[in-house]
Symmetry: C2
Subunit: 255 residues, 2 copies
């Protein structure tokens, strides 16, 4: 049996520091193919490119590592990899390490996590990693070590087919990290505060800004709580969006 | 107490036929504000516009109906409506009627359903409607009637805060529709078949194409089965992506 094949992607682009850290971790496990966006695709969620064609460039190739960049979204990258660029189905899909949190409801806007979910939909063990630091030159030394620990466990014990993992890592020194905590997604929402401006032609435009509104800051089983208290959080994300609990009660209603 | 306020959006753009049908249904219930994309935003999923500003135009205003178009994604439309354009929180969010199916795994790529999920995240009763006909001049007469029936029920009995509804309607005459069936999301995935071409400058590019691969075509409790057999399908979609069943088993593992 050959080495495991690992597909690595992200939403910050193929040149992002977090991607390089994750790529190095992946190389310790197997053969690695990186297919990542040309540039930043944060907030692209599960978007796919339909109206325009997608382009791919091979950026580098060496023993055990091939790097492509793609003009599309993170999900386009995964689809292209699975359908065109890889010669077999990967054993593992890694996305990230994202520059910035994807905890709580941010999971639904995240291109990083969409790539992991797309892996899951295609029956591939998939993990998305994010560091709670948006800066392009964030320090990934502690998060790289924690990601490595989690990867080893996942390679050993697998991930059930129904889920992928959303891993968030606090931006604190390694010694201060208390451990890894499996959590649920915190209930909350992004409270928008659009910045309304007027252009030189006297027309309005808006910049999307806002802050995260945590509905349950004291709930110790949530990812936001874990991260605030020095833990790495892992939330199992379900590939199937059905709310099974409501099928029976809704079935009784007369639509 | 005033009339209910209803926010209507879609991912096919403010001029789409399906949006007009849904808007008319909404007007029978209350005051309506439409905030829909300038043009088609299919496959945009939960994407938000971060790198560019967003623009809004008031297209028309009459008693009980104001129509805006927005340069952003369906989720941008919802965010702008809630934060800038509406004077109070809407009582209901309707998205669609989409030109084309959003059954099974298509829910994760759909801008129509992302808008409904965004409504749910913000605590608004939200329903996404889709007709299984992609053509711009699809016949919405039967689907409009079915959507109206479902809306009346939803206004009467509400929707639990944890979910939004994914309604798909087969493209068949009203008389052939057997009824409404509450279902789970069909397990399956889109099998990509990228169309690889070469541009006039001798560089490759890809068009994303493919077909839906249904893993369980015989499962009578799924939305694909319901639609193939003449039913309108309703899938309750969970706003929270946590897979609660795996929190305990994962918690026992040593990451």
């Amino acid at each position: 049996m050959g080495k495991p094949l690992i597909l690595v992607t992200n939403d910050d682009g193929f040149q992002a520091e977090g991607l390089k850290v994750l790529t190095e971790l992946a190389r310790e496990i197997g053969d690695v193919v990186v297919v990542a966006p040309d540039d930043g695709q944060s907030g692209m969620s599960h978007a796919i490119t339909i109206k325009r064609p997608v382009r791919v460039l091979k950026r580098s190739e060496e023993e055990g590592l091939t790097v492509y960049s793609c003009s599309g979204t993170p999900v386009d990258c995964v689809k292209l990899a699975l359908n065109q660029l890889l010669d077999r189905k990967p054993d593992l899909l890694l996305s990230g390490i994202n520059h910035g949190s994807n905890a709580s409801v941010s999971v639904i806007y995240s291109g990083t996590m969409a790539a992991a979910i797309e892996g899951g939909v295609n029956g591939i063990k998939s993990v998305g990693f994010s560091l709670l630091d948006h800066s392009p030159d964030a320090d990934f030394s502690a998060s790289g070590k924690m990601a490595g620990r989690i990867l080893k466990e996942v390679m050993k014990n697998g991930i059930p087919a129904e889920i992928c993992l959303n891993v968030n890592i606090p931006a604190i020194p390694e010694k201060q990290i208390k451990g890894v905590k499996v959590c649920r997604q915190t209930k909350g929402h992004w409270q928008e505060e659009f910045d309304k401006r007027t252009d030189p032609f006297n027309r309005d435009y808006y910049w999307l800004t806002g802050y995260f509104n945590n509905y349950e800051p004291g709930a110790e089983d949530t990812d936001e709580w874990a991260l605030k208290n020095g833990y790495v959080s892992i939330v199992p994300i379900r590939i199937d969006y059905t709310c099974f609990d409501y099928i029976e009660p809704l079935s009784k209603r007369k639509f």
